[in-house]
Symmetry: C2
Subunit: 221 residues, 2 copies
């Protein structure tokens, strides 16, 4: 991913991927001593790594009590999706205004690749998972708003990916998703910000709706 210039960054990177992949369960405690024996080094860089994880909302630290992998309630997860929905819709609107023609044609080529990929493995399409992310990532970049990029890619996506196993959304309907992606690109190409935003909002809304029904279901227990 990114080359670590310091031990703390290296440990941070490894821990972050471990958390996102679920190798460290939500709520699990991160003992500094244990991390020292596992990753080597001393406690100083480990503490720094933990604090970096806290900065990205991947762990929660309470003074004199240590750090634990973040464990989100369904309500907090709903909150995150809600914000993501808004910010990505915004990004799509801005992308329709600010993407260069070269960016747009590159985006079209990406979708053509996705189409071929889906056709090849008959909708099984494991590639679509990262492909989906790639598409959304390019839209966010296309907004030309660095802070927006930072918020979506730096903070929210890690957590969303971390809880992906619960909400089985996009990877189930690759063809439908592709069509929606194509519609979005079409709107961007015709420089229609309002339409682009609307289509992206609908595209993401299904995830939020799925989550909320699940939330309502679990609330019944």
């Amino acid at each position: 991913m990114s080359e670590a210039q310091t031990l703390a960054e290296k440990v941070f990177s490894e821990l972050a991927t471990a958390i996102v992949r679920g190798e460290l369960a939500p709520g699990e405690k991160l003992s500094e001593q244990a991390l020292v024996t596992r990753y080597g080094g001393s406690r100083a860089p480990i503490r720094e790594a933990i604090q970096k994880l806290e900065a990205r909302n991947l762990v929660v630290r309470v003074p004199h009590a240590g750090a634990r992998v973040v464990s989100l309630s369904l309500e907090e997860l709903r909150d995150i999706y809600e914000v993501r929905l808004e910010l990505e819709s915004m990004a799509c609107r801005l992308a329709a205004e600010r993407m260069s023609d070269a960016d747009i044609s590159a985006l079209e080529k990406l979708l053509e690749e996705h189409a071929r990929s889906i056709e090849a493995d008959q909708g099984l399409s494991y590639y679509q998972k990262s492909g989906n992310l790639d598409f959304h990532y390019r839209i966010i970049e296309g907004s030309k708003n660095s802070r927006l990029h930072q918020m979506l890619c730096g903070d929210l996506y890690h957590i969303i990916r971390m809880y992906r196993y619960r909400t089985s959304t996009s990877s189930e309907r690759p063809l439908q998703a592709l069509k929606e992606h194509q519609g979005i690109v079409e709107a961007i190409k015709s420089r229609d910000p309002q339409l682009a935003e609307l289509l992206m909002r609908r595209h993401i809304q299904v995830s939020l709706t799925n989550l909320e029904t699940r939330l309502a279901h679990e609330a019944r227990h």
Copy 2:
């Protein structure tokens, strides 16, 4: 503000307010040694405080080169305002859906106080400054979205307040602002999310527009 359970938190708190107040200029370097001699303690808690500042985007740290107070370009500042505009508009829409009746009547009382305050000191209204913040803060709380609250109050507002001296917006037109606030509350009271969002968007948009004209002006040099 908040009681510090540890030395690192205390130093962080003091440094944060110092940065927001402009006592530490943007781009100024934060030498660990200098901070040790100033705030006492050893380098460990100072480093932790600096890292916490980095987490809130108040300083920028580069490995082996130290930390500096964040110095935003006008483009980055525009990006931040753009995101804030979107998120606060969203918060206002959600507030219209989710605020309790008690919350709303409390909000009305707040505006009545503001009205009296403005009448008292004839639009000079130094109180309006914090009052303005207070109003926006309550709307954000009214969204009942913890993550949204965290993003707006935790991250964006510190930076916006830090650069407030440049953009002289709201404190100049307290009466106009109050009327806009009243319109927003009216929309919330009548449970009209779309209207509430629209009014809040317009209310904040003037800040963004001011900033962008200034940006265009400075770009000419």
